[in-house]
């Protein structure tokens, strides 16, 4: 988009620019950070929010879909809630305020606000590209978050839950997190709203895995039914680093979760699993890009969508194999159950390949519940409603069970899923 002339701003665009203007003088940052913020907000003013004409926003016309943005409320307060997996170490950011009371051993953590103030955050605030609307909004408005360093070789018994909660208004957070060589951890990045009032959330996680790090990173999005959630995770995988990235969307009204990664070291491996539970009139977009930058890297992606009511699902996945990234092995699948005649799903699984010695593939299916399976269950005396619920649950449970090494985690995630399904199915 090369629109230089100023556009006529929508209500949401005006609200975002106003939120920025209202906070000038109050937003944390040194000179460099503040001038970068100015530039990002200027870009927002001139280019506006992305429309469907921007290819990466083809199915999520943010300019049209984002009708309003609630104003920031400095007095908002969110209670701390129990972690998903009992016994997790909880690091929380509530209404933008970092809480560093219980930092476990092996972790160095500080408030991201400090990185803004001392200017060390400036490099990470740059947008990923002209179409990086989330990076732009977040970079302009971010106030807090956590900067976390996991020590080399550190291992943890319990999961680390990064709890990002707000009650209403706006919350813009960032999480630069680096995992030292050979470290091993399970992190749950959890977003939730503590009440049903509308909130507008942007959050960017910037995750680096050094050589041999082995990380399970689970994003659990449980925003309220009126909320807009713009999430982004950027990750970089070093030599032989292993990331199991798991995304569960079980909330929100307008949701875009971006996952942008790069396999930078030989032997790096990504497993991406996504479960999108959509109902009501929500719009949920998961957009994923992965660059296999060097030879001998592998990735496998499975996304499962369950769509009820008038909900709309979007999955865009792009695997890019760079020139010389020989011996790449990448498989991507996106499967959708459309469970209502008013539901809808758009998928765009892309391959962009510049190296010849590769094995890459993708598959996508959209279907209703398998009628043969349903009949089999009915023939065993299971009533239709129950049989359908079991089949829907089975469709997503399958990929949770891959985390079988951690029973408590599997149980917790299954709990998140069945709670959602009970409410919506």
């Amino acid at each position: 988009m090369n629109m230089q002339q100023a556009i006529k701003m929508t209500a949401a665009e005006t609200a975002l620019v106003d939120a920025y203007t209202a906070q000038i003088g109050d937003l944390p940052g040194d000179g460099a950070v503040l001038s970068l913020r100015d530039m990002l907000v200027d870009e927002l003013k001139t280019a506006g929010l992305p429309t469907r004409r921007v290819e990466s926003w083809h199915y999520t016309d943010l300019r049209t879909l984002l009708r309003a943005v609630p104003s920031a409320d400095p007095s908002a307060f969110a209670d701390r809630v129990d972690p998903i997996v009992p016994g997790s170490s909880v690091l929380s950011v509530r209404n933008g305020q970092a809480d560093l009371k219980s930092v476990p051993e092996g972790i160095a953590a500080r408030s991201y606000t400090e990185s803004l103030i001392d200017g060390s955050a400036v490099a990470g605030l740059a947008v990923l590209g002209a179409d990086d609307a989330i990076g732009r909004i977040n970079g302009g408005l971010v106030r807090g978050g956590l900067e976390i360093t996991i020590a080399e070789g550190a291992e943890f018994q319990a999961p680390i839950e990064i709890q990002v909660a707000q009650s209403h208004g706006q919350a813009h957070t960032r999480f630069p997190i680096s995992f030292g060589a050979g470290s091993k951890a399970t992190v749950i990045e959890r977003h939730l709203s503590t009440n049903a009032e509308a909130s507008f959330v942007s959050s960017v996680s910037d995750v680096t895995l050094a050589e041999g790090a082995d990380v399970i990173w689970i994003i659990v999005q449980q925003q309220g039914p009126a909320d807009t959630h713009l999430g982004q995770i950027r990750f970089d995988l070093g030599k032989s680093a292993k990331l199991h990235l798991f995304v569960i969307n079980a909330g929100g009204k307008l949701v875009r979760q971006e996952l942008h990664g790069r396999a930078s070291g030989e032997g790096a491996d990504l497993t991406l699993r996504g479960i999108n539970l959509l109902g009501g009139e929500s719009h949920t977009d998961v957009t994923f890009t992965l660059t296999h930058a060097v030879p001998h890297t592998t990735s496998s992606e499975i996304i499962r969508n369950v769509i009820f009511d008038r909900a709309r699902g979007v999955f865009q996945g792009k695997i890019l194999v760079a020139k010389d990234a020989q011996k790449t092995d990448a498989k991507m699948a996106c499967n959708t159950l459309l469970l209502s005649d008013e539901a809808d799903m758009s998928a765009k699984p892309e391959l962009e390949i510049f190296a010849d010695d590769v094995q890459c593939g993708h598959g996508a299916t959209v279907a209703d519940i398998d009628h043969t399976q349903l009949f089999y269950m009915l023939a065993r005396g299971i009533p239709e409603k129950k049989a359908r619920a079991m089949l829907v649950n089975a469709f997503v449970a399958e990929i949770v069970e891959e985390l079988e090494d951690d029973e408590a985690l599997v149980e917790a995630l299954e709990g998140v899923i069945s709670a959602w399904l009970e409410k919506h199915a």
Binding site: F375, A379, G381, I382, P383, A394
Partner: protein
């Protein structure tokens, strides 16, 4: 127990008529064999009896214990005691066999107004039945029928039958794809369930299975009709001479 009267049925999607005026009566305690060449409507009959919606009954009736079941859906028929052992048991990834069995058993009990089984009681019954059928316990933890061999799938069907204790058992080509040892295990499982208040309908292409599950009556199905009925000697006759003579005689 089962009375099929002048049944006509077709494929719902394209209207192809498969069953064309079929009459059949099976009494409690009876084992009835239904034989016929490929395409005679054997499997379709098993689906219609168990209530698959891909078929439409256009004429006639199916009475089960004197009541028409045409208005009941598949799960209601199952809960009333009609069990179909599938020719091709369906794989359901993500649903553990054990979980499936428990839900099926308890839903049927609920429908009949019985109490749900406690978990220990359920486990006891499953273990007992599994041992009889030489089914290893770890198989029951795997997703239903996923990655089971042909023989394992058929044994799992008989296991379900033993647990659900149906009144009318329909075995659709249960012998297909089984070696002789597996066939014996399956036949023993079926024979163990024979009782004066239970009827069994064995659908098969070959006489082989009937050496192990000896029928009281044999019915030849051709072009959607029973064209000949007899006792077990009819099966031997078919084995020796094929279907051609009977089809000709009926024509």
């Amino acid at each position: 127990m089962l009375e099929i009267k002048n049944l006509h049925a077709r494929i719902a999607e394209d209207g192809t008529e498969i069953i064309r005026g079929l009459d059949l009566t099976v009494k409690a305690g009876e084992v009835a064999a239904i034989m016929g060449p490929n395409g005679s409507g054997k499997s379709t009959l098993s689906y219609i009896l168990s209530g698959r919606e891909d078929y439409e009954v256009t004429e006639g009736d199916i009475l089960y214990n004197g009541e028409s079941i045409l208005e009941l859906d598949a799960s209601e028929r199952a809960a009333k005691g009609i069990f179909l052992a599938f020719q091709y048991p369906v794989e359901i990834p993500g649903v553990a066999t054990m979980q499936f069995l428990k839900v099926a058993l308890n839903e049927q009990r609920k429908y009949r107004g019985e109490d749900e089984l406690t978990t220990p009681e359920f486990m006891r019954r499953v273990k007992e039945a599994a041992a009889e059928l030489k089914i290893a316990p770890e198989m029951l933890r795997r997703p239903l029928n996923v990655g089971f061999s042909g023989g394992e799938k058929k044994r799992a069907e008989i296991l379900q039958m033993a647990l659900l204790e149906p009144k009318l058992c329909i075995l659709d080509e249960t012998d297909s794809g089984l070696d002789i040892d597996a066939l014996k295990v399956v036949a023993d499982g079926v024979n163990a369930l024979r009782s004066p208040d239970r009827a069994v309908v064995v659908i098969t292409h070959y006489q082989r299975l009937l050496n192990y599950i000896v029928p009281d009556s044999v019915h030849v199905l051709y072009k959607g009709q029973v064209i000949k009925s007899g006792d077990k000697s009819l099966a031997h006759e078919l084995e020796a001479n094929g279907y051609a003579d009977i089809i000709e005689a009926a024509a």
